[in-house]
């Protein structure tokens, strides 16, 4: 047994001369297995990754129960909105020498000292971080360590301050320690459900690649094995020898894949996924999984080699192929696709956006099944389509006939591509549709739009107003008061908000037309889905306030004037839809119980610049006032970023799979050319131009890929439509993405064909004619 394996090993690498094809097979098997391993190892690390992050985050949870002998650390969370990006700042002040030090810090920063995470440091150093830097102030004295962060991309800033200043703040909490039990849910179902299909999608083409590679040069190898049989080697031994031969490439691939993983791991720290970056050192594959990978992947390559021999009996005098290849079993392919289709069709019965869980599950399961079904049906589809093809140029005829003879391998190669492409279309369309909805809403802006809103306590707002007043680039600071308001009665009616301000202030929020003190405007709702109508003119309404515990406390009543001017929602800023705009004169002396003073800052130039100027101006007030960018400036760009990342990932995955598919096609072409050496040489001798033969190869690669891409686009849109219908979204195909992938498919086919040209040229030289 061992002797057979050793003989196989010697046959694979030894004997001095390795034929070009054997070498290619070895290289391709190695590469394929290496890629599989390099994809699997990070996937096997996700558990560690998530649990490490979980443990760190749990260790950062503040404990507010007083402990004996421990001085409290006053702590205030301060969310600094920088427009496109944001920072999480934590203002801390110890109330004694024994205060706990937050994880990741060496010591508690003294007042005026700042400790920043690396990501925050990068941000603050960039031009976009300037306003935030101005507001934080202080001097940077240290770095927040890994223990203080969840992800490498977390932007965390610890700001030292005095206990006196913090104590009085509403949202300050005293902290006596850090740490809580980790959730223990290291890898939750959702993550697994997300990772599993991605891994499958990436792995499937790779596995096809490995199996294709390990079956390369089968004819040549079978002849060699037959020669061994003549020397008295048994059929069982021959299988072992074949297994050992493919083991060489598999083991080499395993080693290379591990090396690739280790080499590329530091780069993971630079990878930006939806604005998240991970700690590379957290990518530690769990040992049991490593063992499984180390056994399974080479096992697969070896299994494929043996599986390739299943229909051949290696006899001493040659190789007998047992009959025609078995009929493709169709029932399970149709079953999978039909089940998926049924699940998808079933959701058509559900109303839009109802019954979320079962319908969502049905959609997810249905689309996955349909994808797999489509991939499984592809070989059949290619076979049927190709069988119907007739005529055409000689090159076309060569390609079609070759595919008619054996299209299975080519289709298998393309199946992976279909899954990825169709999946990409599904995901991209959903993401695109969702982001399109999110950015829906009024696009109205005043001639000089509100660029920043400043909110805070009375004295700070006064101070902010005076700081802003003299600032360059700021033309006006309007003050409004926002207060909650509801229909009078038992509280089951309309709940909303009023904005109280002079005509100039209100005009920055909506198209008012003429306005005089005493007017009241009602901005229509953009979506009439809330169900509760705005109060009528003359209706009785009541102000109310929220207590610290979230309870509502009734405030004074107020009667709406007999004339309330309607403003259509698309004539007002998005933030004020379904809101009453009230001039102070209309209140008739009623004072809202829970009023928040808001400064609307407008200026010349781009809103982002005005926002920066405002942030810089109120910098001295640091966390005592909140500066928010106007909605339009921020949200859409954050969503764009998500879509962009998604698009990038889909693109990378598609191109990767495409490249693997192209490599598989290349191997297939090489194999076929070597097999057809003699006829090709004879054709060339008879004056058939190389271009005809090359075009034959081209068509042969292009036909399955073309069928695959068309099928993928159709399937992708097909599985997307029910989901979109259910979610009530409209189809927005990313023609760019599809175009790029289709273009890449064309390139891949061209490249695979071009790479076979040297071989074709060599074969059609004289050599192929010489009798062996």
């Amino acid at each position: 047994m061992i002797r057979d394996l050793l003989l196989g090993l010697r046959l694979a690498v030894g004997g001095g001369r390795i034929s070009g094809q054997a070498l290619l097979r070895l290289a391709m098997t190695t590469l394929g297995v290496a890629l599989v391993v390099a994809v699997l190892l990070p996937a096997a690390s996700i558990n560690t990754l998530v649990s490490e992050q979980d443990a760190r985050e749990a260790a950062q949870v503040p404990q507010v129960e007083p402990r004996p002998g421990v001085d409290p650390l006053y702590r205030l969370d301060w969310f600094i909105d920088g427009g496109d990006d944001y920072l999480r700042a934590v203002v801390v002040a110890p109330d004694g020498p024994n205060a706990p030090v937050p994880p990741g810090l060496d010591r508690i920063p003294a007042p005026g000292e700042v400790v920043v995470s690396p990501a925050a440091a990068d941000y603050l150093a960039s031009p976009a971080g300037e306003p935030a830097r101005a507001r934080i102030g202080g001097t940077v004295v240290g770095e927040v360590g890994k223990a203080g962060l969840g992800l490498a991309s977390d932007r965390v800033v610890y700001v030292g301050d005095t206990a006196e200043r913090l104590k009085g703040e509403d949202y300050t909490t005293p902290v006596y320690g850090f740490g809580a039990e980790p959730d223990g849910l290291a890898l939750d179902i959702t993550t697994a459900a997300f990772v599993a299909p991605v891994a499958v999608v990436l792995l499937l083409p790779l596995l096809i690649f490995v199996t294709t590679a390990s079956r390369m040069g089968a004819a040549q190898r079978e002849r060699r094995l037959a020669a061994l049989r003549l020397l008295g080697v048994s059929g069982r031994q021959v299988r072992r020898i074949a297994a050992a031969e493919s083991l060489v490439g598999a083991v080499a691939g395993l080693v290379l894949g591990g090396a690739l993983f280790l080499a590329l791991r530091p780069l993971i720290g630079h990878l930006d996924l939806f604005g998240m970056r991970f700690f590379p050192e957290d990518f530690v594959p769990s040992w049991p999984l490593v063992v499984v990978i180390a056994l399974l992947v080479p096992g697969l390559a070896v299994g494929a080699a043996i599986f390739g021999l299943r229909r051949t009996i290696v006899e001493p005098l040659g190789v007998v192929r047992q009959g025609k290849p078995a009929r493709r079993r169709m029932w399970w392919r149709w079953s999978v696709a039909a089940l998926g289709g049924l699940l998808m069709a079933g959701t058509l019965l559900a109303d839009e956006r109802s019954n979320a869980t079962p319908v969502g599950l049905a959609l997810a399961a249905g689309s996955s099944l349909l994808l797999i079904g489509v991939a499984a049906l592809l070989p059949w589809a290619v076979e049927k389509l190709v069988a119907g093809l007739r005529g055409g140029t000689p090159a076309w005829q060569l390609a079609v006939r070759r595919l008619q003879l054996e299209s299975g391998t080519a289709s298998r190669v393309v199946s992976g591509l279909v899954i990825v492409l169709a999946g990409a279309i599904l995901i991209q369309t959903l993401v695109g549709a969702v982001s399109a909805t999110e950015s829906e809403g009024s696009r109205w802006q005043a001639a000089t739009p509100v660029a920043a809103q400043v909110v805070g306590d009375d004295e700070q707002v006064d101070e902010a107003a005076s700081l802003l007043a003299g600032t360059d680039g700021i033309t006006a600071v309007h003050e409004v008061v926002a207060a909650p308001l509801r229909a009078a009665g038992d509280g089951s009616g309309w709940h909303g908000q009023v904005l109280i301000g002079d005509c100039a202030a209100l005009a920055s929020r909506a198209e008012l037309g003429t306005c005089a003190d005493g007017d009241v405007f009602s901005v229509g709702a953009l979506r009439e889905s809330s169900g509760l109508a705005m109060p009528e003119p003359g209706a009785r309404v009541r102000f109310y306030s929220y207590g610290g515990d979230g309870e509502q406390t009734d405030g004074p009543q107020w009667t709406l004037p007999a004339e309330v001017r309607q403003v259509p929602a698309d004539q007002a800023a998005r933030e004020v839809s379904s809101i009453l705009l009230v001039t102070p004169g209309a209140l008739g002396g009623v004072t809202p119980s829970d009023a928040e003073r808001v400064l609307y800052v407008t200026g010349t130039g781009a809103p982002a610049r005005v926002f920066e100027a405002a942030s810089l101006a109120v910098g001295p007030l640091s966390w005592e006032v909140d500066v928010r960018p106007a909605l339009a400036v921020s949200d859409s760009s954050r969503l764009d970023e998500t879509t962009r990342t998604m698009r990038g990932m889909l693109l990378v995955a598609s191109i990767f799979v495409l490249a693997v598919a192209a490599l598989s096609l290349l191997m297939l072409s090489i194999e076929q050319i070597v097999e057809r050496r003699r006829p090709l040489a004879a054709l060339s001798a008879a004056g058939v131009p190389l271009s005809v033969l090359a075009r034959g190869s081209l068509w042969q690669n292009a036909i399955p890929v073309a069928i695959g891409v068309v099928l993928a686009v159709v399937a992708g849109i097909g599985i997307t439509l029910p989901t979109l219908r259910y979610a009530g979204l409209s189809l927005s195909l990313d023609a760019g993405l599809i175009g790029i992938v289709c273009g890449a498919a064309v390139l891949a086919v061209l490249a695979a064909t071009a790479l076979t040209l040297p071989l074709l040229r060599q074969v059609t030289r004289l050599d192929g004619l010489r009798a062996e």
Binding site: T393, P394, R401, A685, A686, V688
Partner: protein, 226 residues
């Protein structure tokens, strides 16, 4: 004596250190069957490849219909082989994925013929070579002798002036070889095509009108000497 159809003079060709041809002279007359004999390794195939314009000799001239093949470009020689020459090799020259009929029709299609008429012509040729019933089979499904007959049909279908046959019966038994030779020479004579027949078997050479002998890359062509 009339001008020969195809004449090679003083042909030299080396493969690295091996001198395959060292001054070969040959003349092929229109319509004749010329046997090229000689022991194996003597340079018969190389001579055939040179005469057919598959290989460019290192020196010498090959005149065909007033033109010198040595001076023609690769593309021109390819085109010439396609239109004026036909080829039969020892085995394995049929494209495995095409049917026998399509194999035979291929040269016509490459010459620009439409599929229907090309396949009709091909069918006639298959019938002439007594393999008319094999049209729809793939080469892998027919016997060696039948395959060679299909190959002969393919070589003759485009009405070549010269058919080059390199050991066309080398992989066949005597009876099948005999049959293929009979059909090949009859068909070629019927079509007025000359045949350059490389063989080391005297019984195969006996189907020729005339023979030359290649020895150590040199040719004794009694005609030319005369």
């Amino acid at each position: 004596m009339t001008e020969p159809l195809l004449a090679g003079r003083d042909l030299h060709k080396s493969f690295g250190p091996t001198e395959a041809l060292r001054g070969a002279d040959v003349a092929v007359r229109a319509g004749e069957v010329l046997a090229v004999m000689g022991p194996s390794g003597s340079g018969k195939s190389t001579l055939l490849h040179c005469l057919a314009g598959i290989v460019r000799p290192d020196s010498g001239s090959i005149r065909y219909q007033g033109r010198d093949l040595v001076e023609m470009s690769d593309g021109e020689r390819s085109a010439l082989r396609r239109t004026d020459f036909g080829f039969v090799f020892q085995f394995g020259q049929l494209v495995p994925e095409l049917t026998c009929l399509e194999n035979v029709a291929l040269p016509l299609r490459l010459g620009g013929a439409k599929r229907k008429p090309a396949e009709a012509r091909a069918r006639q040729w298959l019938e002439r070579l007594e393999v008319g019933d094999l049209g729809d089979r793939r080469p892998g499904d027919v016997s060696g002798g039948q395959g060679q007959r299909v190959a002969v049909a393919r070589a003759l279908v485009s009405d070549p002036k010269v058919v080059f046959a390199d050991e066309p019966t080398g992989a066949l038994d005597s009876l099948n070889g005999e049959k293929v030779m009979r059909l090949l020479t009859d068909a070629a004579r019927g079509a007025g095509a000359a045949v350059v027949l490389v063989t080391h078997e005297p019984r195969v050479a006996a189907h020729s009108d005339r023979e030359i002998v290649v020895r150590d890359g040199r040719v004794k062509d009694l005609e030319l000497a005369a």
